[in-house]
Amino acid sequence: MTADPKTVLTGPHFMDGNHAACEGAIAAGANFAAGYPITPSTEIVERFAMRAPLVGATFLQMEDELASSIAILGAAWGGAKAFTVTSGPGFSLMMEHIGYAAMTETPSVFVNVQRGGPSTGLPTLPAQGDMMQARWGSHGDYEIIALSPSSPQECFDLMVDAFNFAEQYRNPVIVLMDESVGHMTEKVVIPAASQIELFPHRYTRRAAADYLPFQPWPDGIPEFARAGDGYRFHVTGLTHNEHGYPAINAPQQQELVGRLVGKIRNHAEAIARAEECRLEDAQIVLVAYGITSRVALRAMQMAREERIPAGLLRPIVVWPFPEKRIRELAARARAFIVVEMNYGQMVREVERAAAGRCKTILMPHAGGAVHRPEAILDIIREAAQ
């Protein structure tokens, strides 16, 4: 299945990451969005509000982020491809519904254009402080998929991927942008609709009598059904059995949570995506994602000019974390330098995967501006000695 040519603005554009993300969603077939204004994400829903009636979609500005984050789940059960968009404080409010989406296996996309926090923080300036919140912010055990674009082009591309992952794994997918990428204007080439592959809804073909809404296929993922098609299924955020009925006991909890976690963990390799630069012979491995990866790349090039064997690993899928690749690199590198616009979040994952086989150095930043490449270079030089 490929994208609908009537909705895809094929061709070269000059646009910022927020606008590109909106076009990515539309190309991916998103036909429902609900949102609440919050800087620096608002351009995405503003554009969607303008485009929606032209492409057969619906946009509703809700009364708050609690409402928008569950209106999209209602729409998803009504057959829509749905997403919401927010930033820091709004993302905090959405946590309960990320958990509900995971528990009810509702395909959905949550975009967080990260800004400085905590609290109201830096509404107009970038940060990468929500990486762990995206992974762990809702209560209980669950898994999510999260993507981190580093350019407007990638904002477009990864929105398509986000919707595809959401359908394929019946899971919430989070797109972790940041203010810099969201407001950075660059060339974005939107491919022909026929070049945009879409993962269709996993709708069941069974008769209603044979359909159990939460009975998994061998890959751990159940077939989907749309409300109104005669299946008359039940959906609950309570621990439930294959019928979707509440079953409040330890064995059922084990079975359900084990499956919800397993359906992502067991496919981590298939989901993983990263960009690698000069890693063949790298002794110093920079790990950076999103906007930070662009300054890290510059620092790496400066180090190479000094003949320091530096390389860059840029996770594009940040959750599940690419721990296998980190383990491989840890076996032969001298040090990881994790450059991130927070006070140390993904560095914990790197350290965990490296498991002491090589040194892991954090280069933190509280947000509001990107790191200076020269400052990163200093750390590279130190690590190389």
Binding site: F32, G74, R232
Partner: protein, 284 residues
């Protein structure tokens, strides 16, 4: 009527394999479900095209017992979930069935906004004046002076007058009945199912386990007798005058039944006017 069928009229609506339900003896929630079943039958709506959305709480469990596309959502958020479902699936009739704490306390903001927008939802609020599921805490509906576990010396906050709240927020259909008024409830529900727009039905119902016992008001049956003796039907009464006091007289009836374009209608009209041929409609 044709030959007798050993089939309770509520049965086609129930997930019978899930019976018995969790509600306490004498709880009024099940009574309202009977009325809903009769209303659905009368409405002739195909059950495949009716969805029921609940929040959390004792009434929130209705979703789990009805054999419809049914959604037990998060606390307070049944209305925005239902809004998304209705917009994505306009051909469905979407009913929100939940309690007073869920719809009016934690969900109060969504309630007033959905009424303002006139989302085409049928909102049934079972009001038992208390939080049942969590063990009897004070609610925004608890009458002044009644006690609750978190108001051990008596509630001292003025409660909401729900029909007034609904009407002033924009609901097109507003009624209040008690669990005693089973035929009126069924009639009101049937009317709401036929009507377009945000319809609100408040049903006072006994919570004998918590509200009545705590306040020494007897069991479910005594509460039903109280409803019978102290309710006054005043159709068309001004919703301003519907405050409920502790064991006060209860005004019941249908108070609002007006026409106003729904959210979908106003949305489509605005797009059509601004975009004309370019408006693509809703592509499901």
């Amino acid at each position: 009527m044709s030959a007798p069928t050993a089939m309770n009229p509520v049965e086609p609506l129930l997930r019978s394999e899930r019976m018995p339900h969790i509600w306490c003896p004498g709880c009024g929630i099940g009574t309202t479900v009977n009325c809903f079943a009769r209303a659905l039958e009368r409405s002739k709506l195909p059950l495949d095209r009716v969805a029921l959305v609940s929040g959390i709480g004792c009434t929130g469990r209705v979703a789990g017992y009805v054999h419809l596309d049914s959604f037990h959502t998060t606390h307070g958020r049944a209305i925005p979930f239902a809004t998304g479902l209705k917009l994505a699936r306009p051909e469905m009739t979407v009913v929100v069935y939940s309690g007073d704490g869920d719809l009016i306390a934690i969900g109060g903001n969504h309630f007033i906004h959905a009424a303002r927008r006139n989302v085409d939802l049928k909102v049934i609020c079972v009001n038992n004046f208390i939080y049942g599921m969590t063990g009897g805490q004070v609610a925004p509906t608890t009458p002044l002076g009644a006690t609750a576990t978190t108001a051990p010396y008596g509630a001292f906050e003025r409660p909401f007058n729900l029909p007034f709240l609904a009407e002033s927020s924009g609901a097109v259909y507003v009624a209040r009945w008690t669990a005693y008024h089973v035929q009126h409830i069924a009639h009101a529900m049937a009317e709401a199912l036929q009507k377009k727009g945000f319809c609100f039905i408040e049903i006072l119902a006994p919570c004998p386990t918590l509200y009545q016992r705590r306040n020494r008001l007897g069991d479910g049956l005594e509460t039903m007798r109280y409803y019978k003796q102290h309710s006054v039907i005043r159709n068309g009464a001004s919703t301003r005058d519907l405050d409920l006091g502790f064991q006060s007289e209860i005004t019941v009836g249908k108070f609002v039944d007006i026409e106003r374009p729904t959210l979908q209608q106003t949305m489509e009209a605005a797009y059509r006017q601004a975009l004309q041929q370019r408006y693509a409609g809703w592509r499901a």
